[in-house]
C-alpha cells in the first residue's frame, strides 16, 4: 500500500470531511427539539425517526466502517469462510422482523431507553438490570475502538502520520454527540451512506471489468489460495459447522448491542421497524459484493503488509487519486456514525441503569440527560486512549469476546416477550454461566472464536458464542425448574 502523501487524494478527503462535518453539525442543531434535557430526546432522538431516517441510521450503524475494511480483509486472507458475513446479515432480518416490534412497543409504552430498562421492568431485578447494562458497555467499548482503527487505516493510506488526525476526528465526534445527541449521527448518516454506496458500487462495477470479469477474479483468488496452501474459494466440508454457527450466532448477537438497540428504540413505530427489516437487506447485497474486493486484491496481486489494507490499497491502485480521496472520506465519516451511536448507547446505559439505579434514584430528567452527555464524552475519550496506547490486537480480542458476552443478554431480553415462565434468578444464573463458560472456552482456545467439540464420533468446531448461549439457556431452564427458585417477582404483565 502507498503511504506517501498524495496531494489530490488528501485535498479531496479533507474537503469532503470538513464539509460533511459542518453540514451535519448545522443540520443537527436546526433539527433540535424544544429541549434536549431529557434522555429520550438526547439519547433516542425523541423516538421520532421514520422509515428513511431509521434505514440510514441503522444501515450506517450496523454495516460499520470497520465492516467495510475487515470483511474484504478476511475474505482476502481465508477465502470462502470470510463470506459468513453474508448469511449472517441475511438471517438477522427475520429475527429483527419478529422480535424487535414487540420489544419496541414495550419500550415505548413504559419509556424504556435501554435493554437493561426493559429487563428491570420485566423481571423487577436490579441485579439483572446491572448485569445487562454492564455487558452492553463492555461489549460496545471495543467496537468503538474498531471504528477508530478503520478510520486510522484510511488516514494512514492518505500519508498522514501520528495520532493527531484521529484525535481531531474524535473531537468533532464528541462535540457532535454532546450537543445534539442521536440526531447528530442521524443527520450525517444520509450523506455517509450515499457516499459509501457510490464508492462501493464503483468498486464492484469497475474493478472486475478492469480485471477481466468476475470469473477471472475468482480464478485468480483460487490460484492464490492454492499457491499459499491455505484458504479456499469454495468452503471445505470441515468448515461447514463453523460457518453456519458463526452466521447464526452473529445474527442473534447483532441486535443485542447498545448501538443497534438504540437505533431500533429511536424509530417511531413497530411498522417502521418491520419495513426496515424488509429494506435493510439492500446493504447486505452491497456487503456481499464488497467482500469480493478481497478476491480482487488477489487478482491485482496487491503488495500489502496488513490484511486491513486491502480496501484502501485497491482504491489507490485502480482509481484516480480524487476518487480514492472520496472513498477514504466515505470510510472515515462512516466510522463517525456508528462510533457516535455506540457512545450514546453506552452513555444511556450508564445514566439509566447505573447512575439512576444505584447512585441517585431521585435524579431529575434534565440531570439524567446531563449524566448521559458527560458519559458519552468519557466513553469516546476512553476509546481514543485505548487505540493510541494499547496494541490493536487487544481491541480485536476484546471485540471478539464482546460478541460472545453480548449474546448472553438474549434470554433475559427476548424470552420475556414470549413467556412469563422465567424469573430473574434463573436468568441471572444463565447469564453468569454463559459469560463464564464462553470466556473460559475462548481463553482456552487462545482467544479464537471457534471451539472444537467432540460428540462421540463427531468432531467439529462451533462458534463459541453460540455454544455459551446454549450453556446459558440450559442453566436458566434448570435453575427455573429447581423448587427453591420459584421465588422472585413474577414477570410484569407486559407480554406484547
Amino acid at each position: 500500500m502507498r503511504t506517501d502523501t498524495d496531494p489530490v487524494a488528501l485535498g479531496v478527503f479533507l474537503f469532503i470531511f470538513a464539509f460533511v462535518a459542518l453540514v451535519g453539525f448545522i443540520a443537527a442543531r436546526r433539527w433540535r427539539p424544544p429541549t434536549l434535557a431529557k434522555i429520550d430526546e438526547w439519547g433516542l432522538g425523541g423516538r421520532s425517526f421514520g422509515i428513511w431516517i431509521t434505514w440510514f441510521l441503522l444501515g450506517g450503524d450496523f454495516y460499520t466502517a470497520y465492516t467495510v475494511i475487515a470483511v474484504p480483509a478476511l475474505v482476502y486472507a481465508v477465502g470462502a469462510f470470510g463470506f459468513f458475513a453474508l448469511p449472517y446479515t441475511i438471517i438477522v432480518y427475520p429475527f429483527v422482523f419478529a422480535v424487535m416490534p414487540p420489544l419496541w412497543r414495550l419500550a415505548h409504552r413504559h419509556g424504556y431507553v435501554t435493554a437493561a430498562d426493559v429487563v428491570r421492568g420485566q423481571f423487577g431485578s436490579k441485579t439483572l438490570e446491572l448485569a445487562i447494562a454492564l455487558t452492553g458497555v463492555l461489549a460496545v467499548m471495543p467496537y468503538i475502538a474498531l471504528q477508530l482503527i478503520g478510520m486510522a487505516t484510511v488516514i494512514k493510506a492518505l500519508g498522514l502520520n501520528g495520532e493527531l488526525p484521529l484525535i481531531v476526528a474524535f473531537v468533532i465526534l464528541a462535540v457532535y454527540a454532546y450537543s445534539s445527541g442521536l440526531r447528530a449521527p442521524a443527520a450525517i448518516a444520509f450523506i455517509k451512506d450515499i457516499m459509501i454506496y457510490v464508492a462501493v458500487v464503483a468498486a464492484i462495477a469497475v474493478i472486475p471489468i478492469r480485471l477481466g470479469g468476475y470469473a477471472a477474479v475468482f480464478d485468480a483468488a483460487d490460484a492464490a489460495f492454492k499457491a499459499k496452501g491455505s484458504g479456499a474459494v469454495i468452503l471445505p466440508s470441515s468448515q461447514y459447522v463453523a460457518y453456519a454457527t458463526l452466521a447464526l450466532g452473529s445474527a442473534l448477537a447483532a441486535f443485542m448491542y447498545p448501538h443497534t438497540l438504540t437505533g431500533v428504540f429511536a424509530s417511531n413505530g413497530a411498522q417502521t421497524i418491520r419495513k426496515n427489516a424488509i429494506l435493510l437487506p439492500a446493504y447486505t447485497l452491497l456487503l456481499g459484493l464488497l467482500a469480493l474486493l478481497g478476491y480482487m486484491a488477489h487478482a491485482v496481486q496487491l503488495d500489502i503488509s496488513d490484511n486491513n489494507e486491502v480496501v484502501p490499497a485497491l482504491f489507490q491502485a485502480l482509481f484516480p487519486s480524487w476518487f480514492a480521496g472520496f472513498a477514504f472520506a466515505a470510510i472515515a465519516i462512516g466510522a463517525l456514525v456508528p462510533a457516535a451511536v455506540m457512545s450514546i448507547g453506552a452513555a444511556n446505559l450508564f445514566a439509566r441503569n447505573f447512575w439512576r439505579a444505584h447512585i441517585d434514584q431521585q435524579i431529575s430528567a434534565a440531570a439524567e440527560a446531563q449524566v448521559a452527555k458527560i458519559a458519552s464524552l468519557v466513553v469516546q475519550i476512553g476509546a481514543v486512549f485505548a487505540v493510541i496506547f494499547l496494541p490493536i490486537q487487544f481491541a480485536l480480542y476484546l471485540q471478539l469476546l464482546g460478541g460472545m458476552w453480548i449474546i448472553q443478554i438474549l434470554p433475559a431480553l427476548v424470552f420475556g416477550l414470549y413467556t412469563s415462565w422465567f424469573r430473574a434468578p434463573a436468568l441471572l444464573a444463565g447469564w453468569a454461566a454463559g459469560i463464564l463458560s464462553g470466556t473460559y472456552f475462548a481463553y482456552s482456545d487462545g482467544l479464537k472464536p471457534l471451539h472444537a467439540i467432540h460428540l462421540g464420533p463427531i468432531e467439529t468446531t462451533v462458534y463459541t458464542a453460540l455454544l455459551a448461549l446454549g450453556v446459558n439457556i440450559v442453566v436458566a431452564v434448570v435453575v427455573q425448574t429447581l423448587p427453591l427458585s420459584r421465588v422472585g417477582s413474577p414477570a410484569a404483565k407486559t407480554r406484547a
Partner: protein
C-alpha cells in the same frame, strides 16, 4: 393460509442458508460467480420478499 403458517415463511432463510452442504459447490456457475456465491446473494432479495409477504398479512397495530 392463516397468519401462523405465513409466519413460518420467516424460517426459510435459516434453512436455506444454515444447511451449508447444499450450496458449498462451484457449479453451476452464473455470470462468473460460483454457486456458493450467487446462491447466497440470491437469498438477499428472496428474504426481503418473504418478509414483505408476512408484513402484508399482519394487521397494522402501531
Amino acid at each position: 393460509m392463516n397468519i401462523w403458517w405465513t409466519r413460518c415463511l420467516l424460517l426459510l432463510p435459516y434453512i436455506g442458508l444454515l444447511y451449508v452442504p447444499f450450496y458449498a459447490t462451484r457449479d453451476p456457475v452464473l455470470f462468473g460467480f460460483p454457486f456458493f456465491y450467487w446462491y447466497q446473494l440470491a437469498w438477499v432479495p428472496l428474504t426481503s420478499l418473504l418478509l414483505w409477504i408476512v408484513y402484508r398479512r399482519l394487521p397494522d397495530e402501531d
